[in-house]
Amino acid sequence: MTQPFRTPSGGRIRRDQPIRFTFDGRPYDGHAGDTLASALLANGVHLVGRSFKYHRPRGILCAGSEEPNALVTIDKGDGRVTPNLRATTVALYQGLTARSQNAWPSIRFDLGAIAGFLAPLLAAGFYYKTFMWPAAFWRRLYEPAIRAAAGLGWAPASPDPDRYLHRYAHCDVLVIGAGPAGLAAAAAAAARGDRVILCDEQAEPGGSLLARPDMRIDGRPVLDWIAAAGMGVTVLPRTTAFGWYPGNMVCLAERVTDHLARPNPNLPRERLWLVRASRVVIATGAIERPSVFPGNDRPGIMLVGAAATYLHRYGVLPGRRIVVATSHDSAWFTAFALAAAGATIAAILDQRDAVDPALREQARAAGIPVHSGARITGTGGRRRVRFVRTDKTPGRIRCDTVLMSDGWTPSVQLFSQSRGILRFDPASGTFLPGQSAARERSAGACNGTFDLAACLAEGHGAGGGDPRTFDVTSEPKFGAPVPPRPGQPHGKAFVDFQNDVTTKDLAIATSEGFRAIEHVKRYTTAGMATDQGKTGNLNTLAAVAALTGRSIPEIGLTTFRPPYTPVTFGTFAGAARGDLFDPIRRTPIDDQDAVFEDVGTWQRARYFPRPGETMRQAVARECRAVRNDLGLFDASTLGKIEVVGPDSAEFLNRMYTGDFARLEPGRCKYGLLLGEDGFIRDDGVIARLAPDRFHVTTTTGGAAGVLHHMEDYLQTEFPSLRVWLTSTTEQWAVIALQGPRAAAALAPLLDDIDLATMPHMSVREGRFAGVPARLCRVSFTGEPGFEINLPATFARSAWDLLRETGATRYGTETMHVLRAEKGFVIVGQETDGTVIPDDLGLNRTIARGKADFVGKRSLARPDMGREDRKQLVGLLTADPAVVLEEGAQLTTTGTVSLGHVTSAYHSATLGRSIALALLSGGRSRIGTTLRVPLPEGVVAVTVTDPVFYDRTGDRMTGALILSDGRPARAQGVTGDITPHQPPCPARPCAEVELAMAPATGKFSVRTREQLAPVLRAVTRDSHTVLWLGPDEYLVTGDEPPRIAADSIVDVSHRTVAFRVHGPRAGWCLNAFCALDLDDLPGNGCTRTLFGKAEIVLWRRGDAEFHIETARSFAPYVWALLEEARREFLPPSAAC
């Protein structure tokens, strides 16, 4: 037996399972069921850390998460290093490796302890006073030195190799804390048939009951009663409720694998539970208060209740010769128990003059000396307490352990976070839950109820049970209410152990005029850091009250904020790391020969380098190809909105600056969209397909925002208009074919569209190589060209087909250069939210005679007509080789900014650099010279018109060349297009199966007729109809539905569908979906969010779900589903 302080029997440890672990490199033995703290104590190790400021030796004060001293670093290897863990909450496992912190070279001999001698210089606020002069030292000496000295453990240097998951959960009753009150509440709620979640930060439910293994509740052994109380309840051990958020959402951190030596790598290390509870029962218990006396921080000094826990739960004696210093009865029972277990109780010091004679008698019988009206006035011992001094004879008492208690502080943190109002209870001198703000009840010690039978009855009532009493066998009291004491303001009497704050520091702070408790906290740091003053706050309050001659309620509490205990960054991040941080959206074409760039969440082809080419060379080649021959561009990310209904033209007239009532079907028009403030929001080409149907395009980044903006006006300002909007961004892939040879290359591939009938800015619907297409003759390059809209599924094949025409692929960089040569603006690049149409020379887009459109009134504000507004101009550098920097400032003298460069490129077409800029009074400055300061020096530029190339526009608007003389089909064009699907291979898993659902026709149907009940799917004829909104349905089936509807838009290619089924399907969905799936019974359906992706979720059965998600989000959604179900895979399953 190498554990000299382990009792021969008793406790909840498993004595048949020995565990070997190391602390600071030295091996020790413990047992399964131990915490690191209990195992160290069993080996007689009390010195486990050095304090934050003075590097004083520190031991284990507590037995729970409130521990301020015993912070250790746990190293699991492979970069799994976690600092600042409380040894009292670290479960022991085979091979555990722990290190002490804040000590060098060793914990026994720590050079940092020199700070203790400098203590007079390091009092409260010393760093505000000491490191003031000279200022030159701030950055080079003071800050680096303080940073090096600050903190406790070292942050790990390598990326966190572990996985983390979130989980949304819903319940009728969430019970926080599985002590007697919490267990009674959970059992009562479960008996009513409620969905109950019971969480507790310890490894097993029971709380303080676990330290009383011999007692009986309602005639049953207590362990049986605990097990029975958890029946029908979702019990989450090792799970801390750390934060309360609006709408009764409580966040829990579940430590899934930290207690395991070799966990299944497919398990998450920690899981963040976001629990939405109809009601919450707070049963978080109470935390014992240390006594405040000089030298109250030496190793070997711990709380009485902690010693009781170590004895009863872990079979550990904290020492051989123990002094108990208390002010209430419960500590006496712990003293008796320790004496019975073999320890010598050197003395019981009770601050009270009057003590229950029965206790005195029991102590006398046990041979324990008792001193009433006595308190400790000092302690001695270097690395462990060796004696205490008292203000009563014999004055100095030899010991190796001091147990102290100044009463109990109810844990009201979560109640306070719920915005409940605390009330001060004069009898106990503590704050208790007062008026509630959320749907919660506090029960047990956290509510000021300490008697066990009363705790059980209160918990039972809070859980919803009818009033009843509990029969408990007589047991020592948990702890009587005792008001906190101010402590002794001399010597190093610590009120906050973790921050090394003494009563002296509080005296300094108050003498310097800090009276508000929040100010005292900030000046002294009392109540900060990882323990947030769990043991120290009330002692701090009592001391400040005494120092300033006020009462505790007058002073009030500092604010309780989440998290209650430290939570790892990984837990907060969950799966949202790396490739899963955001959806990575790829177009249906996604030609991997390109170099890609991020555009919002899209990956866009930036340029297509040939081997050995630089970006500039590639872009120059691509530009020349478009200008002189033929270019091929993937424009699929453009936002698309189908506007349908008899009032469509009127609606667009009200939204856009132009006149769409007079736009003929078959024609396109440039649209400029303003906010009500008159500033440009978005732009795009709008094609009129029919009198009541428009194909509206938006910028890539603006797609969702434009639809939201339009819906806003349609639903709330113009609800009488008969118009319906459908996003078709992902339905249509777009391939731009631009250049002099565009028409000739395209014509042979069209089945039923005659290009000769297509003027610039026209649209035709027809077939491209056998596939339905919308063909627009538009140009963003200045060359004649087309944008071919194709159902997304066919886009990649079409792209490959078009490459056979000899077209040169080009990317966004080339597109930017070409449009800048033409002076075409990009919203978001030439605009910044303060730009009106006139600033860009786009007043011609504003239809005359329209009474109103969004933004029109603002354009009439006087400020919009000022001559010094920034206007779009071109810039030519004096040195044609110099390319300006976007964002560079424009000046005349070098001191006042007149504007800035918005776009700057090297133009291969012009053989020189060009730039666009917004310049104050720009149009009147054309021809003048300005100075542009760049890092390399000041560059001279000439202000020009923003159109650099083909000012008349004849190239793009002129007659098309319909044949280039090459025989059409001889180029290898077959006109054969095959569908292209995103590959998503599924791995088998019995718990959750994933599969692609077969493709089918899908139609967005808008009608006031009720096609399906709210939030339900129904089968009508050969179609499935999913309710999505009060006038919106998703209809699936092979053929378009033959129903009278206001709007039917084919969206068959917009989404991809997955099938998720198996017993754990719902569990997996709730890893990323915040819905209560119990609200979604069979055939329930709704749009919702899955991670950051919008989905349509359709529950086809108890354990079967159907998910529709936009094509570009499908790989992301699939990856999230794989991530969620990974924990059900065996360790051998690679991922």
Partner: protein
């Protein structure tokens, strides 16, 4: 995370919604006829109360509908939600 009762879909998590600013701000029927001051009032001036506030939300990742919501800006308690066109409940 707020739990917001959509008038069509019932209580749903906040991340499905998008905030739409103060409710019952009336766009002038004929913007051309209002003064600059009146237009600025409509455009920029909001009540921003501490306490009960009528505001617009859109169930953008749900049914897509705009609606009005009375929320206490101090406690985040949602007093009621109602469809556009309906008057603010007392």
């Amino acid at each position: 995370m707020l739990l917001i009762p959509c008038p069509w879909c019932g209580p749903r998590p906040e991340n499905e919604f998008r905030h739409g600013g103060e409710a019952h701000v009336i766009r002038p029927a004929d913007p051309g006829s209002v003064t600059d001051t009146e237009w600025a009032d409509f455009l920029y001036h909001r009540t921003n109360p501490k306490g009960v506030h009528a505001e617009r939300w859109r169930h953008s990742h749900g049914c897509g509908r705009f609606f009005n919501c009375v929320r206490d800006t101090v406690t985040d308690r949602i007093v009621s939600t109602y469809k556009p066109g309906e008057s603010r409940p007392e």
